[in-house]
């Protein structure tokens, strides 16, 4: 019932751990927000909640209202702003809120040692007792595996949300065969439970050495595309490892690239004019990241699929 004003719900799944589900969820959320949509992110990884750190809101607390929790705001809606010289300093973007168990822990180092039934109860609470309000997109970041959280998530969504609201699942994998074999299980899980698969994103596909620009396939290559073909699901794209993105998340510093960096055919220009490089919103700094154009393309494709 608290989901009734959410237009589209998308899950981000992967059978394998450490492939970048949280990173992909963060980037999809930021990119959707840049397209002007109001976005909510729900972090259902109860034992390892990473979303607060990704959005840089680790220290925030969840506020309580009658009837439920209020999700933590990352940024509010904003139209494009300009400074005195006529240069755009803030990109227009929709609002972004997130909810995670990380906000509810007393100490960031506390272990969450819960058995299945308690985790199931928590997931249900997150879906029904949070004031999501009116959202265009709700992205749900999941833990690895196919376990209690996933089962209760799909169960609750089948009950609480309509089939028009359930957009489907985005599957994340790395190219190597070990990840592929776990992710195949996740695709079968989606098939069994009737969750539509929106597409496969192959993450960590290649690392470009910052010194000599030689691209090394640290986790093999090609597996994601082949798997998508085998299971007849759309392949959304390959995302390389970008240390600048990691630096943006970890330290909050705006990505800068050496002269002449080209990603996917587009030259990344580092705007040397910006004086306040490291301040400002995460979403504004993200526009300078080399992964942004890749995710832009993927999000456009996703929006077309979902809103069809």
């Amino acid at each position: 019932m608290s989901l009734k004003d959410v237009k589209h719900i998308a899950l981000v799944l992967s059978g394998k751990g450490g492939v970048g589900k949280s990173s992909v969820t963060t980037q999809l959320a930021l990119t959707l927000s840049l397209h002007g949509y109001s976005v909510g992110v729900l972090d259902v990884d109860l034992t390892g909640p990473s979303i607060p750190r990704f959005f840089g809101v680790e220290k925030e607390k969840v506020r309580q209202a009658p009837g439920g929790w209020i999700p933590v705001p990352v940024h509010e809606q904003q139209t494009e702003s300009q400074n005195g010289n006529g240069h755009a300093v803030g990109s227009g973007h929709g609002s972004l809120h997130c909810m995670s168990l990380g906000f509810l822990l007393a100490n960031r180092g506390d272990a969450v040692v819960w058995r299945g039934p308690k985790k199931t109860a928590m997931v249900r609470q997150f879906l029904s007792d949070v004031h999501w309000g009116t959202l265009d997109y709700l992205l749900i970041d999941t833990p690895p595996g196919t376990s209690d959280e996933h089962i209760s998530l799909v169960e609750t969504l089948l009950k609480e949300a309509t089939s028009e609201q359930m957009a489907g699942a985005v599957i994340v994998t790395t190219p190597q065969a070990i990840s592929i074999s776990d992710v195949k299980k996740e695709i079968n899980f989606c098939r069994k439970t009737g969750v539509q698969i929106l597409g496969v994103i192959e993450n960590m596909a290649g690392f470009v050495c910052p010194n000599c620009s030689e691209c090394t396939n640290v986790f093999s290559k090609g597996g994601g595309r082949v798997m998508a073909q085998e299971f007849e699901v759309p392949f959304l794209g390959s995302v390389p490892i970008d240390p600048m993105f990691i630096r943006l998340i970890e330290e909050g510093r705006r990505p800068v690239y050496p002269e002449g960096t080209v990603v996917d055919g587009q030259a990344i220009a580092t705007n040397a004019e910006s004086e306040e490089l490291d301040t400002g919103l995460l979403v504004d700094k993200y526009t300078a990241c080399s992964l942004h154009p890749l995710f832009d393309g993927m999000v456009k494709e996703l929006i077309t699929t979902i809103e069809r």
Partner: protein, 445 residues
């Protein structure tokens, strides 16, 4: 009849989602939220039990210690050292590290080593050991682990799946039941080391492994992490869990720390350690720091092919770092250093230095078969690996291996096999010419 998991009879989504739990005692309905657990002392008496259909069953079931635990303790009595490999975070390299640790221990032929894969949703160990297609052999005394080599055995749920890609959609309680069976029914026999690989997180599997093994005693847990804070955040929670559960922490290993570009050998940090990385965390939490292992793309490749990284790439800096870590693990466990690793970790190397591959000898005095193959067949590591696999196994096995990996379709596998024949002929020709000594290739185990 090998133990076999019947594919769930799926007629509707609900059936898949409400596959009921099996626990002791036998429940008639799924556990409610906030259930204290049917085996706990509060079963049937807690506030959350009111209204639960199982309340009468739980309240009247015999309490007290689980009668299966002494059976488990007896089964494991022949195992000298048990090591848990933990990490709160997924994808840091637990399974990879478990296989490498097991291979390292097994390199000393006097050691008998076993790996138990308790990751039921994502069992990776069989693939990394190259035994994905095996099944469990049941004897009168119990289940026999799958033997990778004379002294290295593996047990995993992967062997029980009828179809490799089947999803295991189980709730926690059912997973506990399976882990219990692994411990009760598998005939480990007398072993020197048992490495227990766990899934990410701090949940049912970890609680069960801990409670079942408490009586028989675990030497300790090795925690694996990557340098960045996102991973350390979850590892802190795991350390907290270990402290709460009373598991001794042998130490922390930092994986994927630093990447050496194969072209320009410039070291870059893919996963930046903004808060001091694993070393700082180990210091803060007062646990031993076992070592930092750099990222090598060939580890991933070796795992995908089910090969031992130590055997194939002994000259990699990652290998040296790993050996140090293994030695430190041994030290923490109180094992004598010479008993941990094989006295000569690469027994075939000595014979190779006497081989007639002159150019390989000039470049590196310790040339393994793979290095040799790479020298004469070209620099493409994948080609050279294929050649080594081909020379070791027969053609049929290779096609099977090729179709196992996502990167090959059936047609591509056949094409690869044809190409393989060409490689095979090339290798045979070089052997005839005395450039490659056939003896050395056959010598590798």
């Amino acid at each position: 009849m090998a133990p076999f998991m019947d594919p769930p009879p799926l007629t509707s989504v609900d059936t898949a989602l409400t596959a009921h739990t099996t626990a002791t005692p036998a429940l008639v309905a799924p556990e409610p939220e906030h259930c204290p657990g049917p085996e706990s002392n509060l079963a049937g008496k807690d506030d959350a039990c009111a209204g639960c259909p199982n309340q009468a069953i739980c309240a009247s079931a015999p309490k007290g210690p689980d009668p299966d635990i002494p059976i488990i303790t007896q089964r494991l009595a022949g195992i000298k050292h048990k090591i848990l490999v933990l990490s709160g975070k997924g994808g840091v390299g637990k399974s990879t590290f478990s296989t490498l640790l097991a291979h390292a221990f097994a390199s000393n032929s006097a050691n008998t080593v076993g790996i138990m894969d308790t990751d039921i949703c994502g069992p990776s160990i069989p693939k990394m050991m190259g035994v994905e297609a095996e099944t469990i052999h049941v004897t009168s005394t119990g289940w026999e682990p799958v033997w990778v080599s004379d002294n290295l055995g593996v047990m995993s749920v992967q062997f029980m799946l009828p179809n490799r890609d089947d999803a295991v959609i189980w709730r926690g309680a059912k997973k506990n039941g399976l882990i219990k069976r692994f411990l009760m029914d598998v005939e480990w026999g007398s072993m020197d080391y048992l490495v227990v690989d766990t899934p990410p997180g701090t949940s049912d599997e970890h609680l069960s492994v801990n409670s079942y093994l408490k009586e028989s005693g675990v030497d300790g847990a090795v925690l694996v992490t990557t340098p960045q804070e996102v991973a350390l955040l979850d590892v802190r929670k795991e350390i907290d869990f270990c402290k709460k559960a009373g598991i001794r922490i042998l130490g922390l290993v930092e994986n994927m720390s630093g990447f050496v570009c194969p072209k320009c050998t410039h070291t870059s940090e893919i996963f930046r350690a903004t808060t001091g990385g694993g070393r700082r965390l180990a210091q803060d939490m007062k646990i031993p720091f076992l070592g930092a292992v750099p990222l090598d793309s060939r580890i991933g490749m070796a795992c995908d092919f089910g090969e031992s990284f130590f055997d194939n790439f002994p000259d990699s800096p990652t290998c040296k770092a790993l050996k140090e870590v293994v030695k430190n693990v041994g030290k923490e466990m109180g094992v004598k250093e010479e008993d941990v690793l094989g006295e000569d970790m690469f027994p075939h190397v000595k014979t190779l230095t006497a081989s007639s591959v002159s150019s390989a000898k000039e470049e590196s005095p310790v040339a393994t078969p793979l290095a040799q193959a790479r020298k004469v067949l070209g620099n493409d590591t994948l080609e050279a690996q294929r050649a080594v696999i081909e020379v070791r196994n027969d053609a049929v096995k290779y096609v099977d291996t090729a179709t196992t990996y996502a990167n090959y379709s059936k047609d591509q596998a056949v094409e690869a096999l044809t190409e393989n024949e060409r490689l095979k002929m090339k290798v045979a020709k070089l052997e005839r010419e005395g450039i490659l000594e056939q003896r050395e290739f056959m010598h590798t185990t």
